[in-house]
């Protein structure tokens, strides 16, 4: 018996619908069809009147959720792809994110973004937008990398009184399996050291955590011990765990799948440089996707995002400094 990452997300939503009458799910093709990725499979039948097919209206989907949150409900909005959330950008960053600060009335909505690249998905079904949303005050941005986190962080997201952008990675949906959804259930906002090492720290999140581990396995054959930190939530950013790791290793590589200009990896490097400059034995490095749209062809795609090879290369350069 094993549980996939997408099973965990579906399971979390079932748990939420069962335990909290304030929860409903709104999104495209999520009722009868069960969602483009089957994250809501069977839920509309199990919970009549709680899981709704939406018109293709991302802006209005989030607007509706904000209104429902004002009235005390806890909506989950499923974007069919993270990329399409740009249509809802205004409602997320201007309506939902500013609301509590402006009015004192919290907006407990969870917007699920099927994020990241998969082979053949191309420029408009592959994006990683966590850095864009994290830029805005008033949002919590989560990027689970494990089956257990996919489950528990979604449960926790809905319990939070603030708007949450929950970035679930499409590549992990069926590829990532675990024996059960049980885990250490760290609180939101706390990073996890998933591999201990002493020569360099890789700070990653979402699918890149697994690529970092692969790279660390390869370098281990040459005697290098690489520590891997899974941020889990990119906002808030658990800089204390990162700094503690860098204090042990003296070297930092910040790794992300999104576009290279700015973003989460830039924030990590800026924070470590500012708060932990004295801990560093080498200039902190970043590795991101390339500065082009995400390409369609699997060969191009595989070279667009960081890979175990490119991560190893970056780490070797860092270790040689």
């Amino acid at each position: 018996m094993s549980v996939t990452y997408i099973d965990a997300i579906r399971e979390a939503q079932e748990t939420l619908l069962r335990n909290d009458p304030r929860v409903f799910i709104y999104g495209q093709d999520i009722a009868t069809f069960g969602g483009a990725f089957k994250a809501t499979k069977g839920l509309a039948e199990m919970f009549p009147g709680r899981v709704f097919d939406s018109p293709i209206s991302e802006d209005a989907m989030v607007g509706l959720a904000v209104g429902a949150a004002i009235e005390g409900l806890r909506p989950i909005v499923e974007m069919q792809f993270a990329d399409f959330s740009t249509i809802a950008f205004n409602q997320i960053v201007n309506q939902a994110a500013t609301h509590y600060y402006r009015t004192g009335v919290p907006i407990p909505i969870t917007v699920r973004l099927p994020s990241g690249g998969t082979p053949g998905s191309g420029p408009f079904h592959s994006q990683s937008l966590e850095g864009i949303y994290a830029q805005y005050p008033g949002l919590i941005v989560l990027t689970p990398a494990s089956v257990s986190d996919a489950y528990h962080m979604l449960i926790d997201a809905v319990a939070l009184d603030d708007p949450v952008v929950y970035c679930e990675h499409k590549f992990l949906y069926r590829w990532l399996k675990a024996k059960s959804i049980n885990g250490d259930h760290l609180p939101i906002g706390q990073a996890r050291i998933i591999r201990q090492g002493k020569h360099a720290t890789v700070v990653a999140y979402s699918a890149m955590v697994h690529e970092a581990v692969r790279a660390a396995d390869r370098l281990q054959q040459d005697g290098w011990e690489i520590e891997v930190v899974d941020l889990r939530s990119v906002k808030p950013l658990d800089i204390d765990t990162v700094l503690a790791s860098v204090a042990r290793t003296g070297r930092l590589l910040a790794l992300g799948e999104s576009f290279p200009w700015g973003g989460v990896t830039a924030e990590v490097v800026a924070r470590v440089s500012g708060e932990g400059f004295h801990l560093l034995d080498a200039p902190p490095q970043r590795l991101n996707a390339r500065d082009t749209p995400v390409p369609y062809h699997p060969k191009l795609w595989a070279a667009h995002r960081p890979t175990p090879e490119s991560i190893c290369q970056a780490l070797r350069k860092l270790l040689a400094y």
């Binding site: 018109p55 209005a60 989030v62 607007g63 959720a65 209104g67 004002i70 409602q91 509590y100 926790d156």
Partner: protein, 320 residues
């Protein structure tokens, strides 16, 4: 109506005297429409998402004058506590959402409030109303919101004040249909047209639209034709409004027209109206004076947090 006009005249003076920072945008010429809506809605039951030119409607719906003056003058005591200003105010948990500047965005928000009430079983004949201008009907957000409300068959009342100019852009550069009310048919919702300068007509049409929504007949759109009798904001003299437009029927002042109607129908005398004006002017003065003497927000006391959640969360935090 009168209260909206007198209050806004005062706000304009304060702005011109440099006492209000940011913008001041008036509802001059739209008071008949806005006040009718605010009056016809039931405070404490219905939802009213006012927009930029709805001072008259806000007051009619029961917003205290002091909420307005505190927000414009930046008092820490106001509903927005200096964190937002002017027309961007409301008490969302009391049925009055606070608008954002991005036009059309309130349509789906009100739809969501109604959706939630239906889900909770508390809809109970209430309606949600929002106002919008001719310009905002060109936004994607407007289209998405109206269509969604129609699909969900919710009691949304949408008042489109076609004041002929979106900032400086005339209707001819905004839409190509003959009348915006034609869109109602496309959305599958109720559609009404009304002369927005005629108070009696507004009362009759807007009341009917609200009634239909309340009866469960889905969203209702009212397109009110009128003219904005000022610039977009008080920084703008509206020079681009041609004289023939100013001088045609819709260029008349709805308040003057309403006063004549009241006197003709012997609902009020000129003296009574004059007394109302004096009384309102005093109330406005009191609200301004009180807000002016209140403290401004203190950057050193501000908590500078945009989240309810306070991180770090403890290890035993468990929502499941």
């Amino acid at each position: 109506m009168l209260c909206g006009r007198i209050l806004e005249n005062k706000l304009s003076s304060l702005y011109k005297a440099g006492k209000i920072v940011g913008g001041v945008h008036l509802g001059r010429g739209q008071e008949a429409v806005s006040a009718t809506l605010g009056t016809a809605l039931i405070q404490g039951k219905d939802i009213f998402a006012a927009l930029i030119r709805d001072q008259a409607g806000r007051t009619a719906f029961g917003e205290p004058l002091i909420d307005c003056t505190r927000t414009y003058l930046g008092s820490i005591e106001g509903p927005m506590r200096g964190r937002d200003g002017n027309i961007h105010r409301g008490r969302p948990d009391h049925g009055t959402p606070a608008m954002i500047s991005h036009l059309g965005a309130q349509v789906s928000l009100v739809t969501g409030m109604l959706f939630a009430r239906r889900l909770k079983g508390t809809l109970d004949g209430c309606v949600g109303a929002t106002c919008i201008g001719d310009g905002a009907t060109s936004t994607g957000s407007f289209h998405e919101g109206v269509n969604m409300a129609a699909v969900e068959k919710l009691p949304l009342v949408l008042i489109v004040a076609n004041n002929q100019f979106a900032y400086s852009t005339p209707n001819t550069r905004q839409f190509a249909c003959v009348d915006l009310v034609e869109r109602a048919r496309g959305y599958g919702i109720g559609g009404f047209s009304v002369d927005g300068t005629d108070l009696f007509a507004c009362v009759s049409v807007i009341t009917e639209a609200i009634l239909r929504a309340r009866e469960g007949r889905g969203p209702q759109m009212v397109v009110a034709r009128l003219l904005r009798l000022c610039g977009h904001g008080e920084h703008d003299d509206g020079f681009y409004v041609p004289n023939d437009v100013r001088n045609d029927h819709y260029g008349r002042d709805c308040i003057e027209a309403a006063m004549r109607q009241l006197v003709e129908h012997k609902i009020a005398t000129v003296d009574e109206i004059s007394a109302w004006q004096d009384e309102i002017a005093e109330e406005v003065q009191r609200a301004v004076a009180q807000a002016q003497q209140e403290a401004a927000p203190d950057p050193y006391q501000e908590d500078w947090s945009s989240l309810v959640t306070r991180f770090p969360l403890s290890n035993n935090h468990s929502a499941a």
